[in-house]
Symmetry: C2
Subunit: 456 residues, 2 copies
């Protein structure tokens, strides 16, 4: 191989510094998931194709990575499709497995497959990579981690309350203060659709309404009319154009607007419960806001819809989202299993934390000190100390070769190791170690116990 | 989908209890890797096919999972191979990517690709899944984790010394006392091959010699002769049939046996260095043993060869292995990069730790207490306590629904949650909480502060 090797587009190598930072965020998310009673599961990277195909729409099916059958796969290939060179149709006969596309469908499969072992309500979290054959672009990868927490088997709205608290807990712990947790409810959207008298225009309506800040009330109304929403309908939802105030003031406005919609009023009551409880219990740093333009996942969400945006001033799409779905496991034959869940966008959270300089300095898997190698006897003397330090949990290492001193110190410098320990004849004779602070240049002669204290 | 969904053969779902136990072992390995100065990297799950193909022999090529190209893959398929229905040859034109087969080749690729950013010697660890289209059988899976630590860029034997200590550190921390770290050296094996005058018979020789315990000296010699090793040759290595004593006694015997082999004597010196240093520094619970029949990885190991076996009495193959390879990155065009590394067999270690009952009870992601739900007001009172407990890092949860008490207690029981907290009218009036120990049945009335102390 003449040229430098490379990796497939849309994938990434992570250096030690990057792994340490990613693990830090994951660790915060995990520990909060567990504090809230969620327990981890893991599912295989690939599933049987029939588990995944048809679950994400036609576009999703296309973006699923398929694994070629092993062995003489052409022997069992469908002859007609092969003859016709029909790639799409041939796939089913030469590929039985596919890489998971998200964590939700494998979770639904897990719940149905293990329903007899699971004690419901089942609170699970899952932090694993997923794969999508999407066109790679800035911030969009073909392999990326999802971090999901879901509860299935209960319709209790306390879960929604807790999920809001969970977002607050994670982002507070990371130091990302002031995130906005936007909430809406599928039933509110259904109510609005009833009021405007056109459920097929719902998306056009919310997309236009979302531009209120940018293009103003007249601009939004103009766009709505262009999309075929009647002036009468727009007049009916006039309150949404001056939709301001606290969460509970907004709820009261909605309550008036949707008074004639049974479904809409159910949404109002659900939102009121969540808002009341969250407010009474208090959030630490996050802001809860009602956003009627929030319309993600309309095809599967049936109750609450969540989306988290980064603190004001940080240009970044949503860094989390989720909602309630009434029939998670129906696709695998288990009916009436309501669930609600949220997801954290690891890559985007990473970028925001990096941009705001919020990674603690201690987030590194780096050694605390490099012992300089002066030759076999000195190295042995160093190794005795190294062994003890490691047993105390301190990360230290010996430069493996008796190389020139300048080279060894350069190594510590390039690796950002904060201390060097020197131990030659003099130290060996006095049973001591010379510790050098590599940023200040300061040197001290220490006993092993003292060394342990300084490096701990 | 009428029938229950399933997962591909050779893959596994991991339940919360299993994930917690696996994470416990991984955490011990990680923290020891880092104490020894190794730093984490991560590479993509799939690599360009040319990175992997041809690196593991013909058998390996067959066992690599290939990913079907997205879109109209047949449009670019090689017409000749398609016509001939030659699956093996067609693969290259319809699949550009493949799932990684181990962590070593991706590591070599990483080192070459990032050689200008890496400061050598480079000590990296990597804990990630790998995939092999092997026939699944007991203890062999198509998706499994590898846990590798390697150093590249130095030939120093101190690394071998440290890797022995690292094995000792990990297995001691897990409580798996008395593992045997078997060591050999490729150069010793080359020396033996010289002495028996037939390097092509080396494997037959070591395989036969390995049976000494089972079939005795006569049996082994009979097998050697059947394999075409001459009686003269066997006579020359007679010391190997009574190869006992301490590590350094064994080295002395080898030193006599291999006196005429330059290569063999180099191996003797290397082993002597490692043995002397490891012995002088001391191992905590592991045993280091010289095993001349250890001949794994003959195609790539060039110096030390390691293999770890479970403590006596546990029937399990090797639970770790590794060695030194002088040309890790040569396959990608970067010459003279010596490396040495070891690997931990996560699945087997898990089985041994389980069999010996060594998992600490605390290894669980489970909640400490379930708050019983008596209705909306009581649940709100509970949630105030829950919020504070979680902020103190305590894992607690509310039963989401106001279900029958028996059902709620049964839920705690089935989930092995150790405590229930009850708070109804009486507790709300006295601002207290009733804590019930679910294994003893004992109940206590506590303030929130007291509750925090008990559950912490």
């Amino acid at each position: 191989m003449a040229s430098k090797p490379s990796i497939p587009k849309g994938t990434r190598d992570f250096s030690p510094a990057e792994v340490a930072k990613r693990q830090y965020i994951i660790q915060v998310i995990k520990s909060n998931f567990e504090k809230f009673g969620f327990q981890p599961i893991e599912t295989p990277s690939f599933e049987n194709s029939e588990t995944l195909m048809g679950k994400y729409g036609e576009e999703g099916d296309r973006l699923i990575f398929k694994i070629l059958n092993s062995g003489d796969y052409l022997a069992k290939a469908n002859a007609t499709h092969l003859e016709a060179k029909d790639s799409t149709k041939l796939t089913a006969s030469i590929s039985e497995k596919a890489l998971r596309y998200d964590l939700t469908v494998p979770f639904a499969r897990y719940v149905v497959q293990h329903q007899n072992e699971i004690e419901f309500p089942f609170k699970r979290y899952q932090i694993q990579p997923v794969w999508r054959a999407d066109r790679p672009q800035k911030g969009r990868f073909r392999e990326f981690f999802q971090c999901d927490a879901d509860v299935v088997g209960s319709t209790s709205l306390w879960q929604e309350v807790e999920l809001v608290q969970l977002y607050d807990g994670v982002f507070t712990a990371i130091g990302l203060n002031g995130v906005t947790i936007k909430i809406n409810n599928r039933k509110i959207l259904s109510g609005i659709a009833e009021v405007i008298g056109a459920s097929d225009k719902l998306i056009d309506f919310t997309v236009a309404l979302d531009k209120l800040d940018k293009i103003g009330e007249d601009g939004v109304k103009k766009e709505m009319i262009e999309k075929g929403i009647s002036e009468t309908a727009i007049a009916k939802v006039q309150p949404l154009f001056i939709f301001t105030g606290t969460f509970s003031e907004k709820i009261n406005q909605l309550s008036g607007l949707l008074a004639d919609s049974v479904e809409g009023m159910k949404g109002v009551e659900e939102l009121r419960f969540i808002c009341d409880k969250v407010t009474a219990l208090g959030l630490t740093t996050a802001i809860l806001d009602l956003d009627v333009t929030l319309a993600r996942g309309l095809n599967y969400y049936t109750g609450a819809i969540f989306e988290v945006s980064a603190p004001a001033g940080v240009a970044m799409g949503s860094i989390g989202g989720g909602g309630r779905y009434d029939d998670l496991t129906g696709i695998f034959g288990l009916k009436n299993m309501s669930g609600v869940g949220i997801s954290f966008g690891l890559d985007r959270i990473y970028l925001v934390v990096e941009e705001l300089g919020l990674f603690p300095n201690a987030v590194t898997a780096n050694s605390q000190a490099l012992f300089i190698n002066y030759g076999e006897n000195e190295a042995f003397y160093a190794m005795k100390a190294i062994k003890e330090l490691r047993q105390s949990g301190i990360k230290v290492e010996l430069y493996p070769d008796n190389a020139k001193l300048a080279k060894q110190f350069q190594h510590a410098d390039k690796r950002n190791i904060p201390f060097a320990v020197m131990a030659g004849d003099q130290e060996m004779n006095s049973n001591s170690y010379t510790l050098k602070n590599l940023s200040t240049g300061e040197q001290k002669s220490l006993s092993l116990d003292e060394l342990k204290k300084v490096l701990a």
